[in-house]
C-alpha cells in the first residue's frame, strides 16, 4: 500500500486519494486515526472502540478507588469528571511518549500518575494505547505493511507517538518521503510573490492582481451568498474549500441558493432539537416547579404530549402558571372529554384513553424534587426511560439518526446515574452527567456532501497538493496552536532520561502554522480568504495566519468588503465576476391609522361577547381591540406567561375570593391570617415562578403585602358597614343591538339598606392611573360591572387598590375611602361607553377601523366620541402591525 499521511487528514483531504486522475487503489490519504486503523487491520490487532466518555468514566472510577493523597485529590473531590478527563489526557500523552508506568518515577506528579495508570488496568484503549500496541507488534515484525508513505507534515512537526510510529515504519522498510511544498503559483502573480515571500525569498512585494483576495463581510449570510455565486462561476480547475471548524451549514445555503452542490459539513452540536428533550424532562421535575420549562416541553417539536392535549395544558399555564389549581384541573377535564369524543364508540379507542392520559400526566405532572437533597433514583431512571421510549418510537417512525442518538443519550445517562450508587441525585450531579453524556453533541444527520467538481476539507492542513484555487471559508480566529504543555522542567528531564522525552512546547504551534501556510503555498491560481461576522476585521477576530501574512497582504492582497456587492451590478472577486440583480424596491410598511374594514369583520364581531377589558381596549385603540378581541390574534405560548407583577395581582384576586366569603367580612386580623394561610398553596397553583430565587423579593413582597392588603380590605368593608354578597360574581347582559357582555365582578357587597357596592380589586405599582379614571369619568370597568349587575338600579362602586391599601371611589358616594371628585357618575360613564361602542361599531361598518396610537389620527376620530382612554402602544402586542413600532 502506498499512503499519504497528514496530521489533519482524517476528516477528508484534498486531493482525496493518493493516485492520479480518475481514482486509485491502495493509495488512501489518512490521518492519525486512519493510519492506526489501517495498521491494526494489517496486524490483526485492535478491537471494538469505546467512546471517550466511557474511557473517562473508567478512569474516574479508578482514580476514586485509589487510596492515599495524590496531587489531584482535591480536584477529584470537587469535579471528578473533569479531573479524570484531564488526567486521562495526561496519561494518554505519557503513553504516547512511550513511558513505562512500572518504572520508579521520582517526580511527584509522574509517580502519582504511574500509580493511577497501573491501577487502570481495565481502561479501554485510546489512540496512544493503540499506537503503543502497534509499535509493540512491530517489535516482532520485519516487513512493513505499507510500502510507501508520503508525509504531508514534516516529521519534526509530528507529536511523539505519531513520529515514533512513522520512524518505525521507515525502519521496517517503508519508503518515507515528505511532500515538498513549493510555491505553486507563477512568480509573476501576486499569489506567486506572496508564496515566495512566505518562504523567505527576498523578491520585492508589489502589486495586487486579484490572485490573493481577502474578502470580509459583516454579514455572514451575505458572505455565504457571494461565495455560492463565486463557485457557480468556476468552470475549470480544482478547488479546495477549507471549511474551518468543519461546518458549512450556512455556506451550504449560499451554495444551494445558487444551484450549487452543498459541501455538507455539519458540526457536532449539543443544541440540536431532539437532544434537548432529556434536559427538558429533568428541568420540569425539579423544585421549584418551572412553568416555562413545562411550556417549552409542551410546545416542543414532536412533544411527547400530543399537541391536542398540550394545547389545553399550555393554555392553563398561561392563565395560571402552576399546577393543581382550578385552571389546571379544568384543562385535564377538557382533555379527557375531548379524548372521549375522539374515541366515539370504539371500545379499543376508549380503552386506550386511560393509559394515554396517564402517559401524558407522567410528562406534565412529574413530582418535583428538591434540587439539593436530590431526586429519588427511581424517578430519575423513569425520566430516562420515558425519553428513551419517546426517542425510540420516533426513530422507528422516521429513521432519523438524531432520535437514535437521543435514545442512546438517555440510555447512557440512565446507566451512569444508576452506577453512581446513590438513592437520591442532586440536580447538579444529574445535569453534569447529562452534560458529559452529551459530550460534543451530534451533527445534523441530514447534512451530506453533494456531487461536485471540488472538495471541501475541515482543516487547511489536509490540502496536500497544488490545486487551482483555495477558498478558505470562515477564515477567523482559532485557538489552534495555543495549547500549553503540562510538564515541568523536572518532569521533562526525568522523561528524557527514561527515553520517552516530552514533545517540545512549541511543536503544536509550529505544526499548525505550517499547515495554515501550506494551503496558501499549494494554490496555483488563486486564494480566496473569506471572513464574516460583526467583528470580522477586528484584530481579535483575525486568523493568526492573517497576522502572519499581514505585511505581505497589505501589498499583494486584494481586500474586498463584500458589502460592495450590495451597491453594484457586478463585482469581481478573485478573478470571477459576479453579476448581481437589482433589488426591486419595496416600500417599508409604515405606521397607519386608518384601516379599511374587511368583509369578515362584521360576522366575527357578531359572534363575540365583550368584556370590561375588551371595552377598555376598544376605548383605547379600536385596531388593537379588533385584532385582539374580534380576530383573536394571539402571541405564542411561552411569551404569554405573566410577569411577576401580574402574578402578584392574580394571587391577590385568588386569595381575596377565598378570604371574603358571603356574609360579614372577617376581622382584619383574621383576613390577614387567612391570606397568610392560603398564600403558599396558591403560589404553587397560580404563580409558581415566584418560587424561583430570582424573584425572592417579589415573594417577600407577596408575603408582606397580600395579608396586609386583605386586612385593609376587611377594614374598609367594615368601616363602610358592608356585607359581602359574592366574589367573582359572574354577570352578563346585552345592551344595544349586538353589545353582548360578560364579566366577573371581584366583589359585590351590600350596605345595611341592601344597596349594592361593587368593588373592583386592583394591584398596581401606582394608584395614579386609577385615580385619573375616576376623576375623568373613565372608570370603564366599574361602570360596566355596575350596568351589568344593577341595570337601572342605583349602585355604588370603587376600586380597592390592594398594593396601596386604599379604597377609591367617587365623592358623594357616602362611602369611607379616598374620595375623588369625578367628572361623571358611573351610570353616565356607562352611557358614554355604550355610545362610544356604538360610534366605533358604526364607524367600522362604514368601512374604517382606526389605530388611535398612530400619529395623525386625532383629526379622524369620530367627533362625537364621548369617552376614550389613554393609548399605551409601548405595551401593545399589535404595534408591530399598525407599525407604530419599528419605523426605521
Amino acid at each position: 500500500m502506498n499512503i499519504v499521511f497528514g496530521l489533519w487528514a482524517d476528516g477528508g483531504a484534498s486531493p482525496d486519494h493518493g493516485g492520479g486522475a480518475g481514482g486509485s487503489m491502495g493509495q488512501p490519504v489518512v490521518g492519525p486515526a486512519g493510519l492506526v486503523d489501517l495498521l491494526e487491520v494489517s496486524l490483526g490487532i485492535g478491537g471494538p472502540r469505546k467512546p471517550q466518555v466511557v474511557r473517562i468514566a473508567s478512569f474516574q472510577s479508578t482514580l476514586e478507588g485509589l487510596e492515599g493523597e495524590f496531587f489531584w485529590s482535591g480536584s477529584l473531590g470537587m469535579d471528578p469528571w473533569s479531573t479524570a478527563r484531564t488526567l486521562l489526557a495526561w496519561r494518554d500523552e505519557l503513553i504516547g511518549l512511550g513511558w513505562q508506568q512500572d518504572l520508579p518515577w521520582h517526580e511527584p506528579r509522574l509517580a502519582d500518575l504511574a500509580v493511577a495508570c497501573r491501577a487502570a488496568s481495565q481502561l479501554p484503549p485510546g489512540l496512544s494505547d493503540r499506537i503503543a500496541a502497534v509499535l509493540k507488534e512491530f517489535e516482532e515484525t520485519n516487513a512493513p505493511p505499507i510500502e510507501r508513505i508520503r508525509l504531508i507534515d514534516s516529521i519534526d512537526l509530528h507529536p511523539s507517538p505519531i513520529r515514533r510510529l512513522v520512524v518505525r515504519l521507515r525502519d521496517l522498510g517503508s519508503a518515507l518521503e515528505t511532500i515538498e511544498v513549493r510555491p505553486a503559483a507563477p512568480p509573476e502573480t501576486s499569489l506567486g510573490k506572496l508564496q515566495r515571500w512566505m518562504l523567505g525569498a527576498p523578491e520585492a512585494l508589489e502589486g495586487s492582481d486579484g490572485t490573493v483576495t481577502v474578502a470580509s463581510s459583516v454579514s455572514e449570510p451575505l458572505a455565504a451568498e457571494i461565495v455560492g455565486q463565486w463557485f457557480a462561476g468556476q468552470t475549470a480547475g480544482e478547488i479546495a474549500l477549507v471549511a474551518q471548524d468543519g461546518d458549512t451549514d450556512l455556506l451550504d445555503h449560499g451554495l444551494s441558493g445558487f444551484g450549487q452542490p452543498r459541501a455538507g459539513r455539519s458540526r457536532s452540536s449539543i443544541h440540536r432539537g431532539s437532544l434537548q428533550l432529556l434536559l427538558l424532562a429533568f428541568k420540569s421535575a425539579w423544585a421549584p416547579f418551572d412553568p416555562h420549562a413545562l411550556m417549552e416541553l409542551l410546545v416542543f417539536p414532536n412533544s411527547p404530549v400530543a399537541p391536542r392535549a398540550a394545547w389545553h395544558l399550555a393554555s392553563a399555564l398561561e392563565k395560571a402558571p402552576g399546577r393543581g389549581g382550578p385552571e389546571w384541573e379544568q384543562a385535564w377535564a377538557r382533555i379527557t372529554e375531548k379524548e372521549r369524543e375522539r374515541a366515539g364508540n370504539d371500545a379499543d379507542e376508549l380503552a386506550a384513553i386511560g393509559p394515554r392520559l396517564a402517559r401524558w400526566r407522567e410528562w406534565a405532572e412529574q413530582e418535583t424534587a428538591n434540587p439539593v437533597v436530590g431526586m429519588p433514583l427511581e424517578q430519575s431512571l423513569q425520566i430516562c426511560d420515558r425519553v428513551t421510549t419517546w426517542a425510540a418510537r420516533r426513530y422507528a417512525v422516521t429513521s432519523d439518526l438524531l432520535y437514535a442518538a437521543t435514545s442512546t443519550l438517555a440510555g447512557e445517562v440512565r446507566t451512569a446515574i444508576a452506577a453512581i450508587g446513590r438513592d437520591r441525585l442532586p440536580r447538579l450531579l444529574v445535569e453534569r452527567v447529562i452534560d458529559q453524556a452529551l459530550d460534543l453533541g451530534q451533527s445534523n444527520p441530514s447534512s451530506r456532501a453533494e456531487a461536485a467538481s471540488w472538495r471541501s476539507v475541515p482543516h487547511p492542513g489536509s490540502v496536500w497538493a497544488p490545486t487551482t484555487s483555495v477558498v478558505w471559508w470562515n477564515f477567523g480566529t482559532t485557538r489552534e496552536g495555543t495549547a500549553r504543555s503540562p510538564w515541568s522542567d523536572g518532569e521533562r528531564r526525568e522523561l528524557a532520561a527514561a527515553d520517552c522525552p516530552a514533545d517540545e512546547v512549541t511543536v503544536c504551534a509550529r505544526a499548525a502554522s505550517a499547515a495554515w501556510e501550506r494551503v496558501i503555498l499549494n494554490a496555483r491560481g488563486k486564494v480566496l480568504l473569506v471572513a464574516g461576522g460583526l467583528d470580522c476585521e477586528a484584530d481579535d477576530s483575525l486568523h493568526p495566519l492573517a497576522h502572519r501574512l499581514k505585511p505581505a497582504l497589505d501589498v499583494v492582497g486584494t481586500r474586498i468588503g463584500l458589502e460592495a456587492a450590495l451597491s453594484t451590478p457586478a463585482l469581481t472577486i478573485a478573478g470571477t465576476t459576479i453579476e448581481r440583480q437589482a433589488i426591486a424596491p419595496r416600500s417599508l410598511p409604515t405606521a397607519r391609522f386608518s384601516w379599511e374594514t374587511p368583509a369578515g369583520f362584521s360576522p366575527r364581531l357578531a359572534q363575540i361577547t365583550e368584556s370590561a377589558t375588551s371595552l377598555e381596549n376598544l376605548l383605547s385603540c379600536q385596531l388593537m381591540w379588533a385584532l385582539r378581541h374580534v380576530a383573536r390574534l394571539r402571541p405564542g405560548r411561552v411569551r404569554s406567561i405573566p410577569d411577576a407583577n401580574q402574578l402578584l395581582g392574580n394571587l391577590a384576586h385568588a386569595i381575596a375570593r377565598e378570604v371574603f366569603t358571603p356574609g360579614t367580612p372577617p376581622e382584619p386580623d383574621m383576613a390577614a391570617q387567612s391570606a397568610t394561610d392560603l398564600l403558599e398553596g396558591r403560589i404553587d397553583q397560580l404563580a409558581a415562578p415566584l418560587r424561583h430565587p430570582e424573584f425572592a423579593e417579589e415573594l417577600n413582597f407577596a408575603r408582606r403585602r397580600l395579608p396586609a392588603a386583605m386586612a385593609s380590605l376587611a377594614r374598609c368593608l367594615s368601616d363602610n358597614q358592608l356585607m359581602v354578597e359574592s366574589t367573582e360574581q359572574q354577570v352578563s347582559g346585552t345592551f344595544e343591538p349586538l353589545l353582548a357582555l360578560r364579566g366577573a365582578i371581584d366583589l359585590v357587597a351590600r350596605d345595611r339598606s341592601g344597596n349594592a357596592v361593587i368593588i373592583d380589586l386592583k394591584w398596581t405599582r401606582s394608584e395614579k392611573a386609577r385615580m385619573e379614571e375616576l376623576s375623568k369619568g373613565r372608570a370603564v370597568q366599574l361602570a360596566t360591572y355596575g350596568a351589568l349587575f344593577s341595570g337601572e338600579q342605583p349602585y355604588r362602586a370603587g376600586y380597592f387598590l390592594l398594593n396601596q391599601r386604599q379604597f377609591a371611589t367617587l365623592e358623594g358616594s357616602g362611602l369611607v375611602g379616598r374620595l375623588i371628585d369625578g367628572d361623571r357618575s358611573f351610570p353616565d360613564t356607562w352611557a358614554a361607553i355604550v355610545a362610544a361602542w356604538s360610534i366605533w361599531r358604526t364607524s367600522a361598518e362604514a368601512g374604517q377601523i382606526l389605530a388611535t396610537g398612530v400619529e395623525g389620527v386625532r383629526d379622524h376620530l369620530p367627533p362625537e366620541l364621548t369617552i376614550d382612554r389613554d393609548v399605551h402602544c409601548e405595551r401593545c402586542d399589535y404595534s408591530t402591525l399598525c407599525r407604530v413600532r419599528g419605523l426605521a
Binding site: 486509485s24 490483526g44 451568498e225 499581514k550 405564542g636
Partner: protein, 1055 residues
Amino acid sequence: MTEASTMQNRVDTTIASAGTGKTYRLVEEIVAEVGAALPPHRILATTFTKKAAAELVGRIRARLIEAGRPDLSAAMLSARIGTVNSVCGSLISEFAFELGRSPVAEVIAEDRQASVFSRAAGPVIEEFGPAISEIAERFGVQARSYSVHGRTVRGWQDDVRRAVDLARSNGIPPERLAHCAARSAAGLLGLLPAATGQAAEAFDAALASALEACTVELDRNKSGLKAGTLNKDVPTVDKAVRTLRGGDRISWPDWARLAKLGATKADEALFTHVVAAAAAHPRHPGLKSDLQRYIELIFDCAASCMTAYGEYKRARGLLDFVDQEMLALDIISNPANTERLRELIGAVFVDEFQDSSPIQIAIFTALSRIAGRNLWVGDPKQSIYGFRDADPALTSAASAAITAATGGTTGYLRRSYRARPQLAGFVNAAIAPNMLRVGMSEEEIMFDGCERTEDPDGQPGLSFWDMSGKNKVARTAILAGRIAGLLSDPAGWTVAMKGGGTREARGGDIAVLCRGNAQVGDLAFALSQHGIRVAVERSGLLFQPEIEFALAAFRWIADASDTLALAELARLATETDEWFAAVFDEDAKAGLIARVPFADALAAIRDRAHQLTPAEILDALLHAETVFATLLGWGNAEQRLQNLEALRGMVEAYQDEQHAERQAATLTGACEWVASRDNARQPQSRHPDAVNIMTYHAAKGLEWPIVILTELDAPAKGSPFGMIAQDEAAPDWSSPLAARVLRFWPWPYGEQQKDVGLDVSAPASPEGIAALAEERLERTRLLYVGLTRARDHLALANTGGSQTWLEELQANSGAPLISNAGTTINVGAEAFASRSSPDALDPAEATSDPVQEYMRPVSAPIAHPPLRIRPSDAILLEADVVVAATERLGDRIPLVGDPDLQLLGEAIHRFLAADDPNTGTTTRTSRAAATLARWTVPQVAPADLVEISDRLRSFVDTRFDGAAKLKEWPVHAEDGLQVVVSRLDLLVDLGDGYAIVDHKSFPGSVTLDQDRLREFAGQVSQYARAIERITGRKRIEYWIHQPIAAVMTRIELTE
C-alpha cells in the same frame, strides 16, 4: 527583609503619553526579549482588551517574520498574551490541581453574572428582604432598579450587589464588611445634627397633630385654595394623613416634602405648623437609627450574599472575573508554586497599567517576584475607569513605588506620532497646569516633540464650533448642521495621509465625542436627518423591521399557534392589506398562511427543526426563498444585514448561555430569550463615509483626523453618597489590598435632593470634598483623552453658556485657561491659531437620491446527487443477476450460542486481513483466540477461524493460481462528479482484471432471492466500474465468501 522581598525582581515603568508609540515599544521590547533567547511560551503580557492583545500578538509575530525568525513567530502562538482575565484563566487552569479545583473552570460571561448572582443570592434576599425593605421604603428606595425619564433609579438590591462586587474586587472578605458598616455609619451620622434628647415619638406626634389640624384647615378653606396648593400640597398632606391613619410611618422623602409645603404664598400660612414639625427631620432619632440599621443590613446581607454566591459557584465549578483574579493572585503568591511559575513565566509586560484594579496591581506586584523581567507601560493621564472601580491614585502610587523600590527605571515616551505639532502644543499648554498641581512631572505630562511637521501654509488645526441653541435638540441640530457643512466642503478640511501628502476629508475621518449614550443617539439621529451615515451602535435592534420580520418567522416556526407572528409575517412580507382581511376570515390561520409567500418553506423548516440548532433554524429561515428579497427591498441593505448578524449573534449567545447553565436550548426558549433583550443595539456601520460618534471613554486608544469634543458644559457631580472602595490607610505597594475598605452612604430622601440638610452638610465634609476633587481629576484625564484623539483637526463644540468642564482646566490662579479669541484660541498667555467652524447646513439641503441596491439573482433550485456512492447501498435494476457458480469450502463452522453477528463479522474480517499462513499454527491459533476475545465473540473456536482462513487461501490459490492477494484494499474512484470510496475485503489480481471477494459472515447460506442478488449486483457493478476507471481492466469476478456457511458464490451480471 522578608523572604518575599528578597525575591523581588526589578520593575521598569514606561509612561507613554497618548499617541507616542506605546504598542510599538511593547512589541520591540517583547521581540528583543524573545530574540535574547527567552522562549516565547515564557512571555506573559496583559492588555486591557482582547482586541489589544490580538493586535499585540499580531504585531510581534509580524515583527519576528521581518526579523527572519518564522520559527519564533509560530512559537508565539503559545505565549501567554491576553487580557488580565485570560492570563489569570490560563494560570488557574495550569494550577488547578495545586488549587484543588476543577481543571476546567467555567467562566461566567459578563452578561450572565447578574442572573447567576440573583439565583445564588435568592435565599439570602428572601431572608434579609423584609427587614431591608421596611427601611428602604422609608427612604423611598425600591427593591430593584427602575428607569424613569431615561434615568435609572437604583434599588436596594443594587446596593447589595455593588457591595458584593466592590468587596470582592478589592479583596475584602465578608467578615470585614461589619467594620465597613460601622465606619460608614459613623461618617454619615456625623453629618446629621446632634441629638436633642427628644424622643422619636415626640417628633412623630408633633407632625401628626400638625397634619390633622392642617387637614381641618384645608377642608375649611378648600374653595379658596390656589391651584398650586391643590395640585401639590393638598395631595402631599392627604397622603401623609392616610399613611398615619393606616398605622404606618411617614417616609423620609415625605418628611422632606412636608417641610417644603406652602410654596404658593397665598396659602403658605395653612402649612406653617406642618412645615415646622416636618423640618425637624434631620434631628429625628428615627432617621439616624434607620440609616444606621440600613447600612448594617445592607452590609450584612452583602456578606451573606458573598458567601452564598461563592458556594453557588463552587458547587457548579463556575468562576467570574474577580474569582479568576483572586485565584491567580493566590497561585502567584504561594511560595510552593514559585519554582514552577518561574519555569512558565520569564518576562511580564503590563500594558495600560493605569487602568488596573487594585487586585490586578496586587497580581502584577506578585508576578514581579516571579519573572526576571518586568515592564509596566501606561499613562496615568489616561486613567478614566474610576467608574469601573479602577483606583488611579493607588495605581500610580504603586507603580512609582515599586519601580523605585526595586531599582527599576522609569522611561518616558513623549514624542507624538499622532498629532500635528500645533495640536500637541495645545494639549501641553491646556493640560499641564492641572496635572502639575496634583504632583505629576512635566516628563509625565507633556509631549516633547512630534514626528509630524506643520505645513506653514496649511490650515490651523484648532477651532471652536458654536452650537448654542435654546434647547438640547436645537444644539444637537446645529452641531449636525456644521458636520454636514464640513462634509460639503471637504477641500476645506484636508487631512494628512499616512505616506505623506493630504487628501480631502470624508465622513469616516470624523469622530464626535460625547459624554453619554443618550447624546450619541441624539446626534446620530440629527446627522441622519442630513442623510449622513453614522458609525454608532443605535438602540432598538429588536424594533427594526428586518428583525421583527425574522423574529416573527422564528416564532412561527417555534409555535404554529402564534397567529400574531403569522400576521406580522404577512404584514411585512406583502404590500397589500390582504393580511388584514385574512385575520378576520373564518379560518384566519389558513388565510394568513396563504398570504405569506414562503410559509411552506417555513413549515418545512419546522418539520426538520428537531435536527437543527436554534441558530441553524434562524439561518435556514433567512435563506427561505424571497425572505432576503423582502428584507433588502426595504433599502439600506447593509445596515439590515448587519442587524440580522446581530440577531444571529443573539441566538448563538442564547445557546451558549443554555450550555453554560446545562439547560436545554429550544426554539421557544430562544424566542423568549431574544424578546426579553429589548435593549439590544444595532451594530454600527463600517462604511468609510460613516461619521464616528461615541463616548469619550469608548474613544480611548483610537485616533481620527478630525475630532469634535462636545458636552464641554457638563457639570461635575462628585457626591460622597453611594458605595465606594477606598484605602483606610496609606497604600502599601507590596500589599495593595491590605487597607481596602468600603464606604456606603445611603441617601434617605428618595427623589428629594435639595433643602434637606444633608445636601449641604455632605458636600462640605472631608468625604464630600474628596469625592468632588477625585471626580474633577478624573474629568481632567477624560478631557486629556478626548483632546489627544485628533491627528489633524481638533474642534471644541461650545454650547454658548458656561463650559464648565473645559473651564476646569485652570491656571494656578484658578482662572480658566482656554478662551476663544477669534482667530486664535488662547491657553493662558499662549495663543494658538484657530480657524472658523464650518457653516451649519439645514437638513432640508440634504439631497438623497434613491440608491439602487443589488442582490443575488434568483436561481432555480437544482437537485444534486450525493458526493459519495456507497456500493452497499446500490441496487442494480437494469440487468439480470445470476449465480454463476457455487463452491463449498468445507463443512459449516459450528457456532455455540448466539453471537453478535456484527462483531463476529468484524472479528473474521480482521483475522482474515492479518492472518499469515507462514507463521505456525500455534501462533495463528493464539492470534485467532485473541481476535475473538477482543471482539467478544467466543462462540467461534479459534481453530475454526484459522480453518476459515486456510479454506479461503486454498480456494483462492486453487482458483486463481497463486495470483497476488490484496487484503482490505482501499478503492477510491470517481464516477462523474460522484466518488466511490470503499475498502475491498479481498482483491485478487488476475492480471487482466480482478476478483473481488466479499466476506459475508452471516451464519446461513446466501438466500438467493432476487432482492438480495440485486443488492450484491449493485455492489459488483459499482466496484467493476470503479476498478475499470482506475485500471482500465474490464474483467471482474465477484465472489461472495460465506466463511461460516463455508460457501463461495460467484455472482454474474447478464445484459
